[in-house]
Point group: C2
Chain length 321, copies 2
C-alpha cells in the first residue's frame, strides 16, 4: 500500500473536503476569497484531513457528511496556523510558492488567518457535537501555547529535548490528535482514546522527520529553503542531539548559529549532524513514535482504513518532503 | 444616572469578570501569562463586558455565573482583536501605554492574540449553550471579514458612507451585538432580537463618536494619538462627509491625505471637518443610532438595568474619550 493507494481509499470523501473548503472560503469580501483560493490551490500534502477521513472510516463512520466537514475544519485551522507562522517567521516561501505575507503583506496574512479560525469554529458549531467542540477548543489552546513556546525557544541553544518535544506536541501533534479524536467522536466515541494516541504519535513522528528534512532535503523537493530552521534560530532535535554528542568546538558552532540565526556555518552543520549521528538519533526517535502510533490502533477492527493509517505511520518515516 | 452609577449596579459581577479573565490568562507558558496580565492591567473602558452584564440582568438572569463567563469571553475576544489590529496598523500606543507589538514585537502580539481566541472558544465550549456558540462563531466571522474590509478601504478616498457603515458594523457593532444577544440567550431567549438590535446600534453610535474623537480629542485624554486614523489612511465618517460638502480644493486635500496617510494637513483637516459641518453630521448619525438603541429596549420590563442600558446609549454620545 503506497500513498496513492491510501488516498484512493477515501478518494470521494477527499473531493468533498476540497469542495467544502472552497465554499467555506467564499466571502462577501473579495480579498478573503482571493487569498483563500490562493492557499487552497497551493495544495500541500493535506495529511491532516486525510487522517480525519481514514480515522472516521476506521471507526465505522456511517451515513452523513460530518466527517467531511470535520476534515475541512482541520485543514482550514491548520492553514490559519501556517498563515500566522509565516508572519512570525517572516517566511517568503511555502510549498514552493510565495507566502501570503510576502505577496499581500502581514496585515492580510494576519486577518485572513483570523477569518479562517472564525470560519472553522462556525463549521464546528454546525456539527452540533459537544465532544467535537471540546476537543477542538482545547486543542487550539494547546496549539496556540505551543506556538508561543516555540517563539520563546527560538535562538535559545539551551532548549532541551523535553522542551523540544513539548513544542512539537503543540505545533504539530496536537492538531493530528484533534483530527483523529474528533473523527472517532463523530463515528464511535469508544475509539477516541486510541485514535487520539495514534495521531499524537503520528504527528510527532511527522514533525521530527520534518525537522530532519530541513538539513537533508533540497528546496526543489521541499518547496521551502534548506536551513530555514537554522536561519530562524530553531533548536530542533538534530541540533539538540548534535550539541550533546559533538566535540566542544563543534557544539559551540551550533550554539552560536542558533543564537544568531546565521547561515554561515550551514554546510558544516549539515555535515556535522550527519557525521555525529544526530540525524540517525532523530530518525530513531521518529521510528519509536511511528511504532507507538501503530500499536495504538491494535484494538481496532482490521479494516483497509486501519491498515492505511498504519501504513501512513510507516510512510511518515520514509518521506523526502 | 452617570457612568459610576451604572457600574455600581453590576459591581460584584464585574469583579468576578476580572477574576475570570485573570485566571483564564494563566498559562504554562510564562510569556502568555505575562502579556495577558499586561493587557488586563492596561484597563480600558470594558464597555462590552458591561453591556453583557447589564443585558443579562435586564433579561432577568437568575442564579449562576454563566453571564460572568460570557462577559469575560467578550472582553478576551475584543482584546485579541486589538492585539491583531495594532499589528496591522503598526500602532505603538493604546490606552496610554505601549502596545504589545511595540513592546514584545509582532510575533508575540499575533500568537498571544491567537491564544486569547482559542481560550475564549474554550470558555464558550464550557457554557454548553448551542445558541451562544452559534452567535459567537457567526459573530467572529463577521468581525474578521469587517477587519479585512477595513484593510481594503484603507487609503481609499472613494469609500462611501455605506461601506464605512459596513466596516464599523463588522469591527465594532457586531461584538456589542454578540455580547448582548448571548446575554439574552443565557437569560431569557425571548429577548434575543431586542438585545441584539440595542447593542448593534449602541456599537455603531460608539464607533462613530470614536471616529469623531480622533479629530477633536487630545492624546492625554484618549490615550492614543490625535490623527491616528488619518495617519493610517482610514476614511472615517467625518472625512467622508467633508469630501461631500467641502469646496473642491479642500475635498482634494482630504482625498490626498487619505491616499498618502500623510499628516501634513492634519490641522487644516481638523479645522475643515469642524467648519463644514462634517462633525455635526457625524454626531447626528451617532445620535440616530443611540435613539434606535434605546427604542429597541422598549418592550423589556422596566428595571434599573434596562435604565442603565438606555443611559449608556446616551453617554456614548457625550464621552470625550
Amino acid at each position: 500500500m503506497d500513498f496513492k493507494d491510501i488516498l484512493h481509499l477515501v478518494r470521494d470523501d477527499f473531493a468533498a473536503v476540497d469542495a467544502c473548503i472552497s465554499s467555506s472560503l467564499q466571502s462577501r469580501v473579495p480579498l478573503v476569497s482571493e487569498v483563500g483560493t490562493y492557499i487552497v490551490q497551493s495544495g500541500g500534502k493535506r495529511l491532516r484531513p486525510l487522517v480525519t477521513l481514514l480515522a472516521a472510516r476506521a471507526c465505522g463512520y456511517g451515513e452523513g457528511r460530518d466527517h467531511v466537514t470535520m476534515a475541512a475544519i482541520i485543514e482550514m485551522l491548520h492553514t490559519a496556523t501556517l498563515l500566522h507562522d509565516d508572519v512570525v517567521d517572516e517566511s517568503s516561501l511555502r510549498r514552493g510558492r510565495a507566502t501570503v505575507n510576502s505577496r499581500w503583506g502581514n496585515p492580510t496574512a494576519v486577518l485572513v488567518g483570523d477569518y479562517l479560525v472564525a470560519r472553522s469554529f462556525q463549521l464546528i458549531a454546525g456539527l452540533r457535537n459537544q465532544a467535537v467542540f471540546d476537543i477542538m477548543s482545547d486543542g487550539t489552546c494547546v496549539i496556540a501555547e505551543g506556538e508561543v513556546l516555540q517563539l520563546i525557544n527560538q535562538h535559545d541553544p539551551d532548549t532541551t529535548e523535553a522542551r523540544y518535544l513539548e513544542v512539537i506536541h503543540g505545533k504539530t501533534a496536537k492538531m493530528f490528535e484533534a483530527a483523529a479524536e474528533c473523527a472517532a467522536a463523530l463515528s464511535d466515541p469508544r475509539w477516541r482514546t486510541q485514535m487520539a494516541a495514534y495521531a499524537r504519535h503520528l504527528g510527532a513522528a511527522f514533525q521530527i522527520i520534518d525537522d530532519v528534512l530541513d538539513y537533508t532535503s533540497s528546496a526543489d523537493v521541499m518547496g521551502k529553503n534548506v536551513g530555514d530552521d537554522l536561519a530562524e534560530g530553531k533548536p530542533t532535535l538534530p541540533l539538540i542531539q548534535a550539541m550533546k554528542v559533538a566535540a566542544p568546538a563543534e557544539a559551540d558552532m551550533v550554539r552560536e548559529s542558533i543564537r544568531t540565526g546565521g547561515l554561515e556555518h550551514l554546510q558544516e552543520i549539515i555535515a556535522l549532524v550527519r557525521r555525529c549521528g544526530a540525524l540517525d538519533y532523530s530518525h530513531e526517535r521518529a521510528r519509536q513514535e511511528s511504532e507507538a502510533a501503530i500499536a495504538a490502533l491494535a484494538p481496532l477492527p482490521a479494516t483497509p482504513w486501519r491498515q492505511a493509517l498504519e501504513e501512513l505511520a510507516r510512510l511518515a518515516l520514509r518521506r523526502d518532503h
